[in-house]
Amino acid sequence: MGQSKRYGRVEEGGESDRELVSRARVGDIEALARLIERHQDRLFNAMYRVVGHYEDAEELTQEAFVRALRGLGRFRGSSGFYTWLFRIGMNLAINFRRRSRPVHFSALEASSGSPGRQAAGLMDLLESPGAGPAGEAALREQHRRVLSALGELEPASRAVVVLRDIEGLGYGEIASILELPLGTVKSRLSRARGAIRERLGEDGF
């Protein structure tokens, strides 16, 4: 059974997003900063996996925060702040890729040529106890292929997979973020995973 990864919405310090948003609305800069700090890693990671390019993801994440925080006056709180933030971010990411170049995911090397940012985490994984050189190479190859398969999906489908399999969100949250009917989330996720599996199978995975 799949496991959802959950990342708290009320972090250490106990102040909820709702409280921070209330403070931010009246110009509390510290509250703004805390909202950013609280959500930046999650949002960036999701954006990065959808757009497949580190610098683009950074730019889009910034843009998402700017739009969300500037729009606090319009935020009615019917959904959580993070849902609202992710909605803005995913829209930006999906639209960005639609009008941009094809996605080329890099599993091991960053464009800088130094050990990749993504690769750094992956290498940690590979260096975990029990993973010998052969295992490392195999896992590395698997990650490269699955990322490549992810990159071939339509952006909207990719977003569903990222939110579910990488961010660990539930179907309801994904539906809310992407503003899709629940049934569409299910069918899109099923189809996208099927496409990924098919692609991996073609590669002899």
Partner: protein, 419 residues
């Protein structure tokens, strides 16, 4: 066939939902029953699990360092630019430097939340009457001691309360800047200051303990505008709020903190005389001795494209700060002839750019230094310890300093909230 495809699709979705734990108990039992008797379905589930878990095993990517600061900077910049463009596009360009300072202020508040930077552009340094906000105000006609010029003369002093030294030189008349850093963490602020001085290769520097009841250090030095901008932004990144205002070039005048650039921009865009009067009154209150009419003149000056029309008041604008080119008509900085100490080289400036001031001789190290160094800015930075309570009060955001209607005016036209 079609029915088979629909059925297959439905089962796949069900299987995905099962894997994701999104089924009701009844649905789950139904799937588990099917799985127990259908090998293909078990293979399907296995493949699904493999791909999904592979994606899930990817290491999470942390946000790039500095992302939150960049966001805050963009927020501030966008609001400032929008507000400015809505009011006066050309004037917006004109005050780019001021906007940068203000934008940097937000970052400071963000990072430490305890520091307060009061940035005012004055001739007069650390002495003189103070506004309720702690800004220094110089009465018209009063001569500024000019500790900056002491540095200009090459004096490097670690002595405390060296007022005689500081007062012994003529005031700098070009690009004088005063910056007060108020913080609970005095030691940390000093370290930051020293680091920035090193980073921008500033020297010599006058360091002197603050006189009076304030605890802290006064730094005086000369530098290029670009270096000043970097130092201010560097300080701002680490903790404070920058206000700013007016430069008075002729040893006269005054000017003050306590009124932010944003408020001035909002003021310039206000249609109602009543709205304009509010800010002018505040500025006048912040600068004892200044009439409301004079304050209104200052504000007009700030908002105007041509800033040459107001005698005695000059803004520290982009012409000086966005270029290292000498500014025509800039005054010279006179060194202290009586001190007998002097270094005449401009920090960061090629020697061949350093020219003698009018009517004064150029002298090298150890001699009497009198030079004209257009393009340099005389800077004083006071790093002051401030109690937590006081610091908290002074770390008000830009919008919090004004009345509600002013804040709303600044919030933008798109209802984006009161950020």
């Amino acid at each position: 066939m079609m029915a088979d495809k629909r059925r297959e699709k439905a089962w796949r979705e069900l299987l995905n939902s099962y894997y994701d734990g999104e089924l009701s108990a009844k649905q789950r039992r139904k799937v588990e029953k099917a799985l127990s008797s259908d090998e293909d379905m078990r293979a399907e589930l296995s493949g699904l699990e493999e791909a999904a878990s592979l994606l899930g095993s990817m290491e999470r990517e942390a946000a790039p360092a500095g992302l939150s600061e960049s966001v805050m900077f963009r927020l501030e910049r966008d609001l400032i630019l929008e507000g400015r463009e809505g009011l006066n596009e050309s004037a917006g360009r004109r005050h780019l430097f001021l906007r940068r300072l203000t934008a940097a202020a937000a970052v400071v508040l963000l990072t430490l939340g305890v520091g307060a930077f009061v940035y005012s552009v004055l001739v007069q340094p650390a002495v003189g009457p103070r506004t309720p906000e702690g800004a220094v105000v110089v009465d018209a006609g009063e001569k500024a001691p000019g500790s900056v010029a002491a540095k200009r003369a090459g004096v490097v002093s670690e002595a405390a309360d060296d007022e005689a030294l500081l007062a012994s030189v003529e005031p700098a008349v070009y690009g004088s800047v005063q910056l007060a850093v108020r913080t609970e963490g005095l030691g940390r602020a000093q370290l930051q200051m020293e680091g920035l001085l090193d980073e921008y290769d500033i020297g010599p520097v006058v360091r002197s303990a603050l006189a009076g009841s304030e605890e802290g250090v006064l730094y005086g030095f000369m530098c290029r505008p670009a270096a000043l901008e970097g130092i201010v932004e560097g300080l701002a990144r680490k903790g404070g709020h920058v206000d700013l205002l007016i430069e008075a070039p002729d040893g006269g005048v005054a000017a003050v903190s306590g009124v932010s650039v944003e408020e001035v921009l909002a003021w310039a865009g206000a249609d109602e005389g009543r709205d304009r009067a509010v800010l002018a009154q505040r500025l006048a209150r912040a600068a004892p001795g200044a009439s409301e009419a004079l304050a209104a003149e200052w504000l007009e000056e700030i908002a105007r494209e041509d800033k040459g029309g107001l005698p005695g008041v000059r803004l520290l604008g982009p012409r000086e700060f966005e270029s290292d080119e000498p500014v025509t008509g800039a005054g010279s900085v006179a060194a202290n002839q009586g001190s007998g100490v002097g270094v005449s080289e401009a920090p960061g400036a090629p020697k061949d750019e350093v020219k003698p001031a009018e009517g004064q001789a150029e002298v090298g190290e150890g001699g009497e230094a009198k030079v004209e160094e257009p393009g340099l800015v005389a800077v004083q930075i006071r790093v002051v310890r401030e109690a937590a309570e006081g610091a908290g009060k002074s770390v008000e955001g830009v919008l919090e300093t004004g009345e509600a209607d002013e804040a709303e005016a600044w919030a933008g036209e798109d209802g984006a909230g009161a950020y």
